[in-house]
């Protein structure tokens, strides 16, 4: 009896130890190693279809490493790492503010990359946060819906076109629900910081009964189906990929400013294989920042100059400034204001 009892106790103890996964998983994909070996667990808010070439290239270099890829929203990612101490070796997110928060509050490990000189200064924070993409927040529109109208070239002109054609755009404007989406929140706060037109635009969108979305992909789908005429602050890299397939999708080139987001990777302190995680970050850096650029790099080509030729491009800077809008008071105030503007009875 005893012989049976002990394993039973052990198993139940182990079950008790295993934390219940509270964060919401959107997608889970396994990239098995060609030969058995260690595993790399990645938590990410990047679509696995877009991201997988990078993982496959990594596995060509390290054939014994199997990769476990979990896709969550940026908010869920924050919850997983910050609150639940979930054991991941790498966290990849487009929500720069959350990544910086994790690093600032001591949830990340340092990584001294031998490739760090490839990175421009603004593309990393300390030796904790490493950016490997540069993606614009774009305004996507349906060409058919804008027929006979001037194509707006700035937020000002977008506001007046929306205002003057209220009936045409009623219920056909979409943007991020920044209460749900970390990236949407980042874009919104940076817009608010850059220009007051953001609030006026929100007012106008609110008056047109704007629809709120969790993710860029849904907004773009809305444009394709004709559900939406304009989607504000859509992730440009997705939009470009979709616009290539659907000629009806147009992307506005705004003259006043375009926010550039940096997708970044960190190694959480809970990482079980920090060495492999470091190798993966080096892999991301070389794939993205080396002069020639890797052919398997799935994101838009990077621009080393922070203030590029087009001054309207504004790269969000990694750093403690991003912590400001994460402040509880500041965040709730911002959300309140945003709700007042966008949700109009």
């Amino acid at each position: 009896m005893r012989i049976l009892l002990l394993p039973t106790i052990l198993i139940s103890f182990a079950l008790w130890l295993m934390p219940a996964v509270a964060y919401e998983i959107e997608q889970h994909k396994l990239f098995p190693a060609s030969a058995g070996g260690e595993g790399l667990r990645i938590i990410s808010n990047s679509d696995s279809d877009i991201f997988s070439p990078l993982i496959e290239a990594f596995q060509r270099k390290y054939p014994t490493v199997s990769v476990d890829y979990t896709v969550v929203s940026s908010t869920e990612l924050m919850r997983a790492v910050y609150e639940e101490n979930a054991a991941f070796d790498i966290a990849i997110s487009s929500a720069m503010d959350l990544q910086v928060k994790l690093a600032n509050d001591g949830y990340t490990r340092p990584h001294n990359s031998e490739f760090s000189e490839l990175l421009p200064d603004w593309a990393r924070w300390r030796n904790h946060v490493f950016a490997f993409t540069q993606e614009p927040a774009s305004v996507v529109y349906s060409k058919s819906a804008f027929e006979g109208l001037e194509i707006p070239t700035s937020r000002q002109s977008l506001i007046s076109i929306l205002r003057n054609n209220g009936s045409r755009f009623k219920n056909k404007v979409g943007t991020y629900d920044i209460r749900q989406s970390g990236l949407g929140f980042l874009f919104a706060t940076q817009d608010a910081r850059n220009s007051d037109t953001f609030w006026r635009l929100n007012e106008v969108m609110g008056s047109l009964n704007a629809k709120l979305y969790c993710c860029s992909a849904d907004m773009i789908s809305g444009i394709t189906t004709g559900e939406l005429a304009v989607a504000y602050n859509v992730l440009g890299s997705y939009a470009q990929a979709r616009a290539a397939k659907d000629p009806n999708i147009g992307i506005l080139a705004l003259e006043d400013f375009t926010t550039l987001m940096l997708r970044s990777a960190i190694i959480p302190t809970t990482a079980e294989n920090p060495d492999i995680a470091g190798a993966f970050i080096d892999h991301l850096i070389t794939a993205s920042w080396s002069e020639e650029g890797a052919d398997y790099y799935p994101y838009p080509k990077l621009n080393r100059e922070r203030a590029s030729q087009r001054l309207s491009l504004r790269t969000i800077r990694l750093g403690p400034g991003l912590l400001v809008y994460l402040d509880n008071l500041k965040r709730s105030q911002f959300l309140q204001e945003w709700q007042n503007a966008i949700i109009q009875p």
Binding site: N104, D105, G106, R126, P320, G321, V324, D327, L329, K330
Partner: protein, 461 residues
């Protein structure tokens, strides 16, 4: 001959070591001062930016909807990111109650009321931090509310800056030490130089040179030089006194000797017995020898005196040689010897004519003495490089090669001169004179024929 004196330590080494020690201490001091200063500046600049950040957050505090609220400006935290990569923590409290920020950040109680900011260094989340707290009062319906904002930053940049500066400061200190060491060694050299110059000038002196040291010396060495000069003065006086004594003695002896010789010659004429005549002749010969020795002692004393106070004129050595030769003509004729002088007028020589004549005279006298009956004595005047050479040739037996080296020392006589009257001072006088004029005396034997050759080398003026 090397004199070994009792040497203990070295001024140069001691000074060098002391200066190196001082340079090392100063370099270390410089390093410490630079580091202290750098630390102060680094802390101050971090404090300043933290203060600016805390103040701007505090300025955003307001009473809104029945409670205290803060609207942290973006720049409040991004300005910290502009200057460094350090982690940033903050905390806002109202009347001691946590409002927002990092709850675990322990806030110092603001000290005295007057102080608007308080600074502290502590630990948070496993890292050293520097924290600034600023306090402001807001008036509220139910009384004043004290809002405290604390902003903290890790010390990574400060540490890095200090490390960088400490490397520079190390090189600075090292450079300072090297420069100071080089300058120190150079100054020791220049301090020791007068001592070396004095030592060299004293050791370079000729054996007769007892003049006082005239060259300027540093004040510290003056007592030594004065003592040295006094010592030499005394030495010189005692030497002079002994020379004078010898001269006086010779002079006193010479006159009675002359009387004695006259009396002996008168007696010689009177006696007829051959043994008496022989002994009288022997007596006269002895008297001659004594009086010649006395004469030479006098000459030597005169030479010694005059070499210290040369009366320098331009001298034509051919003319001088001719005059000297004429004086010896009677003596030479008596012995049936011919005196010949040859050569052309040489370039003038500056010197004391009386001394040179005396020296030449002594040599000619020797030549007449040692030359066999009926032979010639030749004087040749010529030039050799920048020397004017006066050579006296005779046809005697010549010098013994073994004697040549020490013939010029006082009272030294050649092994083959026993049959001839002489004191051994002639060559000494000649050498002293020629050396006093910056020249030298050369003794040799004639080639092809027998006979000696004495050459005076005088430098051309």
């Amino acid at each position: 001959m090397t004199a070994i004196s009792n040497v203990s330590g070295s001024i140069r080494r001691r000074l060098t070591l002391q200066l190196l020690g001082i340079a090392a201490v100063l370099a270390a001091l410089l390093f410490i001062m630079v580091m202290t200063f750098a630390k102060q500046v680094a802390e101050e600049s971090q404090d300043n930016i933290l203060t600016a950040s805390a103040t701007s957050i505090l300025d955003s505090a307001a009473i809104q909807g029945g409670g205290v609220t803060v609207d942290i400006p973006y720049s409040a935290l991004s300005m910290l990111g502009n200057v460094s990569d350090d982690r940033v923590f903050y905390r806002v409290t109202a009347n001691g109650k946590f409002l927002t920020g990092y709850k675990g950040l322990s806030v110092t109680k603001p000290g005295r009321k007057q102080e608007r900011h308080s600074f502290m260094t502590s630990h948070y989340m496993g890292e050293s931090i520097r924290m600034v707290s600023a306090t402001r009062r807001l008036s509220y319906a139910s009384g004043p509310v004290e809002v405290t904002v604390s902003v903290a930053q890790t010390l990574k940049r400060q540490t890095e800056t200090l490390e960088r500066i400490s490397t520079s400061a190390f090189y600075l200190g090292f450079g300072f030490f090297i420069a100071a060491a080089i300058l120190g060694v150079l100054s020791v050299q220049s301090a020791v130089k007068p001592i070396q110059i004095l030592a060299d000038s004293v050791s370079r002196r000729g054996p007769q040179d007892l003049r006082a040291v005239q060259a300027p010396v540093p004040g510290e060495m003056a007592p030594l030089v004065v003592a040295l000069n006094r010592f030499m003065e005394r030495l010189k006086k005692s030497l002079t006194r002994s020379e004078e004594f010898i001269a006086e003695a010779a002079h006193r002896v010479r006159t009675p000797l002359a009387v004695l010789r006259t009396q002996a010659e008168i007696a010689l004429r009177r006696v007829e017995r051959p043994e008496n005549r022989a002994s009288l002749k022997e007596m006269i010969r002895a008297i001659d020898e004594s009086s010649r020795a006395a004469g030479q002692l006098l000459d030597h004393a005169m030479v010694s005196f005059r070499t210290d106070h040369l009366e320098v004129t331009k001298i034509d050595l051919l003319e001088l040689g001719r005059e000297t030769l004429e004086r010896h003509q009677p003596l030479a004729e008596m012995q049936d010897k011919t005196l010949i002088i040859e050569g052309e007028t040489p370039p003038p020589v500056s010197g004391d004519a009386i001394l040179i004549q005396n020296a030449l005279s002594n040599i000619i006298d020797n030549a007449i003495k040692y030359a066999p009956f009926g032979e010639d004595i030749k004087i040749r005047i010529g030039t050799e490089g920048h020397w004017v050479v006066v050579s006296v040739f005779d046809q005697g037996e010549g010098f013994n090669e073994t004697d040549i080296k020490h013939l010029t020392t006082r009272f030294s006589r050649g092994g083959n001169a026993e049959n001839t009257i002489g004191s051994g001072l002639g060559l000494t006088i000649a050498e002293e004179v020629v050396q006093a004029h910056g020249g030298y005396l050369k003794l040799s034997n004639r080639k092809n024929v027998t006979g000696a050759c004495v050459s005076f080398y005088f430098p051309q003026s």
